[in-house]
């Protein structure tokens, strides 16, 4: 178990890993299973779709996820209305036996941007229904404050639109969220490289949620490890305290005692 300062606490539950991993888009269920192991994650996301018993992969994926022992974070991916998201959340709670829900209410088909108005309303309804809501939001301060107002104790702002791998597009907004909001903040979506995840952690974010960057890597298992290492490095750097950047160079080796410096020529 990690020391308390390195543990992640979400709705009263503690975790050693600060990486939440998605379970979609892998070329095989076996690859997904091995990536979960390599990532050292303790929380995985998953979804619900209409039954298709003809596709055997669904049952295998579900068995591997159960065997992983990870905490489940079901999503409402693809929902475009409050009603759809609320209904799917209830179906998830029954099927997965958890009150955790990654709430997605999508407002735009092109960039899969959350609908802020629907998101807040769905979060309010679900919180009143006893759910512990993990809202997938943008980096807008007021939206995230409204989500807290309706009971969200964890927020998941995007780094960039889902699946783009563009990293942290709006550092000003993200820094503002970190400075102003005293709840766990998870960067959800848009990250493409471990260096981007490390940067998010250096900024003080509490965790990172990934899927595409790992699942679509040339070697997803190795990339899962790379992200885990990057997140650990970034979080340790945040705890250690980064130096202030500055314009003027400053020597790291002491100047005093420098040989050949200001030497007088012997007479």
């Amino acid at each position: 178990m990690s020391p308390p300062e390195t543990q992640l606490t979400l709705y009263g539950e503690t975790f050693d890993s600060r990486l939440l991993l998605g379970t979609a888009l892998y070329n095989s269920p076996q690859l997904m299973r091995d990536a979960i192991t390599a990532s050292r994650t303790q929380i995985v996301t998953l979804g619900l779709r209409r039954q298709n018993p003809a596709s055997g992969d669904g049952a295998v994926i579900w068995r591997f996820i159960q065997d992983s022992g990870c905490r489940l974070l079901p999503n409402t991916a693809g929902c475009k209305t409050v009603k759809e998201a609320v209904t799917l959340a209830h179906m998830s709670r029954e099927l997965f036996n958890t009150d955790w829900i990654k709430l997605e209410v999508i407002g735009d088909e092109y960039n899969l941007q959350p609908d802020p108005f629907g998101l807040v309303e769905a979060a309010r309804i679900l919180t009143e229904d006893g759910f512990k809501v993990f809202p997938y939001s943008t980096d807008d301060l007021i939206l995230n404050q409204r989500l807290m107002d309706v009971g969200c104790q964890v927020l998941m702002p995007w780094g960039a639109p889902i699946g783009t791998g563009q990293g942290l597009l709006n550092r000003y907004n993200l820094n503002t969220l970190r400075q102003r909001l005293q709840v766990p903040l998870i960067i959800d979506a848009g990250l493409g490289a471990p260096s981007q995840a490390a940067e998010a952690m250096e900024m003080g974010f509490d965790a990172v949620l990934l899927n595409t960057a790992v699942a679509r890597a040339g070697n997803p298992v190795l990339m899962a490890k790379a992200f885990a290492d990057g997140i650990d490095a970034g979080h340790n750097a945040y705890l250690a305290g980064l130096m202030q950047s500055r314009q003027t160079a400053s020597p790291s080796t002491p100047v005093i005692g420098q040989p050949f410096w200001h030497q007088s020529t012997p007479q």
Binding site: G22, T45, L48, R50, Q51, N52, W62, P74, E84, T87
Partner: protein
């Protein structure tokens, strides 16, 4: 007989068929698996109500299963 939509496909069921009866029927036919949750006309139906819920003509039934997700 009534005609309902199961995950977008038309199905015929007996009059006064309960959701519980229909789910057994669909499992026997291989249309659904073992792990599922149900909504009818966009409303979640808790498992405890399957035996009481009577299907009606033109009902839209969604039966969902776990899948990988991000």
């Amino acid at each position: 007989m009534i005609q309902i939509s199961l995950n977008g496909e038309l199905q015929r069921e007996d009059d006064n068929c309960t959701l519980a009866d229909a789910l057994v029927h669909w499992q026997t036919q291989g249309l659904i698996g073992k792990q599922y949750a149900v909504a009818i006309n966009g409303e979640f139906i808790p498992r405890s109500l399957y035996g009481q819920k009577i299907l009606h003509n033109a009902d839209l039934v969604d039966v969902v299963q776990p899948i990988g997700g991000g």
